[in-house]
């Protein structure tokens, strides 16, 4: 009986962590965002109620930001646990999560606490402490003014200095001592002051003052973050601004892949050398930080029609496949990629054709790799179940000793099954949202396969927790 319970627990946790790596509540190709949201919030509530300690520890497992924020909210909403040790551990994890989340996500999280009417003592303390520790609070108050205001009013926070007047007063009137607050005030009337503000705020004033787009972009450029610069690269091109330097190599491989998939094939072909160099450099940067190395690897990559994602996440599955390819290339001794519909060059990939995973798998196995990585949404239709049958027969008849390590990485969360859709029980399926988690997920696949028991999983989570809290 105890063994049975342990198995159920292990499966619950694997399902949950898998979902937390993949799902962000956005629409996918095969399901809407409402379906995804319902499915995910059920999982969160279920795990929080049944495995509170492990639920909190998932914060350290490297899951995506969306789910980190959701866990923090759920924990804050459920009140503090009974025992002191648990309470302390949870608080440290929440603090860690809040400080490691990107700024905009952290503020959104605190704002959502207001929307969900969470306002217990612990929650207020967390908000106070978070704000007290911000190094650049003044700047963030300008950039996230509305959020900051809602957070302040929800938590009944007092600020004696100018911040209170800036948030709650008429920010267009009365001089401020703080330079950036004053710039915000002047920007209501004066174009020069606008260029002292963060880009996202300046954008609104630029529209208000009807500043020509090319002049605005050229002059705001020094204030932009590299992500903002990458996002506006197309607009800068349109406005013919010459020295728009986007440091593509600093972008993560998945972001870079998403950008290049948004370009037309002729443009990609014209800039092939540049894009390829950027992809390689970006992948190298990620791989340098992880100690994981692979041997002879073959990859099966899905570029079927369904890998185009949805309106919410355009081309995401294909971008993950593409980025994984470049990452594995940097981290493996030798690599060969097998696409479901063959292409001349990986960077010229397009989401089209039916999914014939089975044939690609056979080609990949024929190359005799040590490891076989499959990046696919798990929908296989030419013929249906083709890949699953190939895996079944291969693993049961040709490779009973499991000499080839097979891992299925799935960038799509299947709302109906509460987890990324599996290809076959013979290969573990793990979710992946950002290709840079690839190596983490390959490690995690051991749990998904069932070769490790609950204690090992708990120990793994504890180790991760101690690592991040150290």
């Amino acid at each position: 009986m105890a063994e049975y319970t342990a198995r159920i627990e292990r499966e619950d946790l694997i399902t949950f962590i898998n979902a937390c790596f993949t799902c962000t509540g956005q629409a996918e190709f095969y399901s809407s965002s409402a379906e995804q949201g319902v499915s995910l919030s059920f999982l969160h509530e279920y795990i929080r109620t049944n495995y509170r300690r492990l639920y909190a520890r998932c914060l350290a497992a490297g899951i995506n930001h969306y789910n980190q924020a959701e866990i923090v909210l759920q924990l804050l909403g459920a009140g503090a646990p009974e025992s002191d040790a648990d309470r302390q551990e949870e608080s440290r994890l929440i603090r860690y999560a809040l400080s490691s989340l990107p700024t905009q996500r952290a503020y959104k999280l605190l704002e959502q606490a207001g929307q969900r009417r969470i306002n217990n003592r612990r929650c207020r303390a967390v908000v106070r402490q978070f704000l007290a520790e911000r190094k650049n609070l003044v700047f963030e108050a300008v950039k996230y003014r509305n959020r900051m205001r809602r957070i302040h009013s929800h938590g009944h926070l007092r600020s004696e200095d100018e911040l209170g007047r800036f948030l709650f007063g008429d920010a267009a009137e009365g001089r401020f001592e703080t330079p950036i607050f004053d710039a915000y005030r002047r920007a209501h009337y004066e174009e020069r002051a606008l260029y002292e503000l963060p880009y996202s705020v300046a954008e609104g004033f630029a529209a208000k003052l009807s500043i020509p787009r090319d002049r605005f972009l050229a002059r705001i450029a020094p204030r932009m973050t590299s992500a903002e610069k990458a996002r506006t690269a197309r607009a800068a091109e349109r406005e013919e601004i010459d020295d728009w330097r986007v440091d593509w190599q600093r972008r993560d491989p998945t972001q870079l892949a998403t950008y290049l998939l948004s370009l037309g094939i002729p443009e990609r072909r014209a800039r092939l050398a540049e894009l390829e160099a950027a992809m390689k450099a970006s992948a190298q940067r990620i791989v340098r930080e992880v100690p994981y190395r692979l041997g002879r690897v073959s990859m099966v990559l899905d570029n079927s029609f369904s890998s185009r994602g949805s309106a919410d996440k355009a081309h995401r599955p294909l971008a993950v496949a593409l980025a994984s390819l470049y990452l594995v290339e940097q981290a493996s001794a030798s690599l060969r990629a097998f696409w479901t519909s063959p292409i001349a060059h990986p960077l010229l990939a397009r989401a089209q054709g039916s999914t014939s995973l089975g044939q690609a798998l056979l080609d990949a196995l024929a190359w005799k790799p040590d490891q076989l990585l499959i990046v696919s949404d798990g929908f296989d239709n030419d013929p249906p179940n083709g890949a699953s049958e190939v895996l079944r027969v291969y693993c049961s008849r040709l490779d009973p000793g499991a000499e080839v390590e097979i891992v299925h990485l799935n960038p799509v969360f299947d709302a109906a099954h509460l987890m990324p859709r599996a290809l076959s029980s013979w290969a573990p399926t793990v979710g992946i949202r950002d290709a840079k988690d690839l190596f983490l997920m390959i490690g995690f696949a051991r749990f998904a396969k069932g070769s490790m028991d609950l204690q090992a999983l708990e120990a793994y989570l504890q180790r991760r927790m101690l690592e991040v809290l150290a």
Partner: protein, 395 residues
């Protein structure tokens, strides 16, 4: 009426895709032509009344003076405009090239569109047809005139007005679970001009147009077509049954090469399933009626030879002189619809003589009467004939 075999000249089936119980089999045109284009013409109000001025002199003569002309009433969300020749009008955004066609009648909560005829020549080289309704109207009009000889068993209504009103029910494509999603998630192949829709692996409908661009436009409109009610139930089979999913043989596989050959044969088997699945329509003898002609194009509607033991389809198509299919839409009849039509056909073949028809069906006159009653044709018979059949049954 003439008869012939159903064929799909020049069309190649491509690998099918399955979503829930729905399987879509793309049909690809190997040699596309572009002198026949089809445009959808959407009507805002879904309910439509179509006036059918009958060209059947018998029917026209039977109609009393004060009796309105024959009317076809149905859910009609759109029409197709078929243009011949490469004379596509170049449109600018906001321009209005097409008249919306027909009059509108405002009936409080409903708006009803009044249309004239199933198929109408808009101008010299353009037709407006009501897709699938053309075929359905042909089906409903089968032996619509009723008994030609005034046998004493038939009621006054049957002798005066024929089968009117003749009613058949069907369901919208939206009611079939998974069809709308399937149309969204499946990719349109390069050169795809048509599709065969299977629900739980029964052929529900087939659609073909002549140009891939037209198909792309009309692909999603399939969900607005009507289907037989059987498909509603078939759609509830949520998955392709496990047994129907292709399996690979395990025995005798000792190397990757063996695995490869096993996989190839499994894939081939899956692709070959088309001819097997569409058997109910392919290679069937049809009775066809030519509705109109324009140059080498012939618009016809057809019914498979009605056989209550098999699946039966009705449809309409435009066929070129060389036999190439340029437009096709079919509808699968439900078993009850087939039985009703079959009954009418047997009656008509025997001059509506009850004894003769009963003999042809290997039945007695009484059981035939009961059968007519069950099929909803009781109103054709005199009350005493119906009562006699009923009283016998009670004994």
């Amino acid at each position: 009426m003439s008869s012939g075999l159903f064929g799909l000249d020049g069309l190649q089936p491509a690998p099918a895709q399955v979503w829930g119980a729905v399987r879509l089999m793309p049909l690809v045109q190997t040699r596309p032509i572009d002198d026949l284009r089809i445009d959808p013409l959407a009507f805002g109000e879904a309910f439509g009344l179509v006036g059918l001025d009958s060209r059947d002199p018998l029917l026209a003569s039977q109609r009393p003076e004060d009796w309105p002309e024959t009317v076809y009433a149905s859910y009609i969300p759109h029409a197709y405009v078929i243009s011949f020749g490469k004379r596509q009008a170049e449109a600018v955004w906001g321009g209005r090239l097409k008249k919306s066609g027909g009059k509108k009648l405002d009936l409080g909560p409903f708006k009803v569109r009044l249309l004239h005829r199933m198929m109408k020549k808009d101008c010299r080289d353009r037709w407006r047809i009501l897709p699938l309704h053309l075929a359905m109207e042909g089906f409903l009009a089968l032996h619509f005139a009723g008994p030609a000889i005034a046998w004493q068993e038939y009621s006054r209504q049957a002798l005066t007005y024929g089968l009117s009103p003749r009613i058949e029910g069907s369901i919208s494509g939206r009611a079939i679970r998974g069809l709308e999603d399937a149309l969204r998630v499946f990719e349109i192949h390069a050169g795809q001009v048509g599709m065969a829709v299977f629900v739980a692996d029964a052929l529900a409908a087939m659609m073909v147009v002549s140009h891939p661009d037209d198909y792309r436009r009309l692909h999603r409109s399939l969900v607005e077509d009507f289907f037989c009610d059987l498909m509603l139930h078939y759609g509830l089979y949520s998955q392709v049954p496990e047994d129907l999913c292709p399996r690979m043989r395990t025995e005798g596989i000792r190397s990757l090469a063996d695995l490869q050959s096993a996989f190839s044969s499994m894939r081939q088997g899956w692709h070959d399933a088309f001819s097997l699945l569409a058997e109910g329509l392919l290679e069937r003898t049809l009775s066809m009626e030519t509705v109109n002609k324009a140059g080498p194009h012939r618009l016809l509607r057809f019914v498979t030879r009605l056989d209550p033991a098999r699946e039966n389809h009705i449809g309409e198509s435009i066929v070129r002189e060389d036999g190439r299919v340029e437009y096709l839409k079919t509808y699968r009849l439900s078993a009850a619809q087939t039985r009703r039509a079959h009954l009418l056909q047997v009656l008509a073949e025997h001059g509506w003589h009850l004894e003769d028809a009963a003999g042809a069906l290997n039945e007695t006159r009484r059981s035939l009467t009961r059968r007519m009653e069950n099929a909803g044709f009781g109103y054709l018979l005199k009350e005493n004939v119906r009562a006699a059949a009923r009283s016998r049954r009670r004994k």
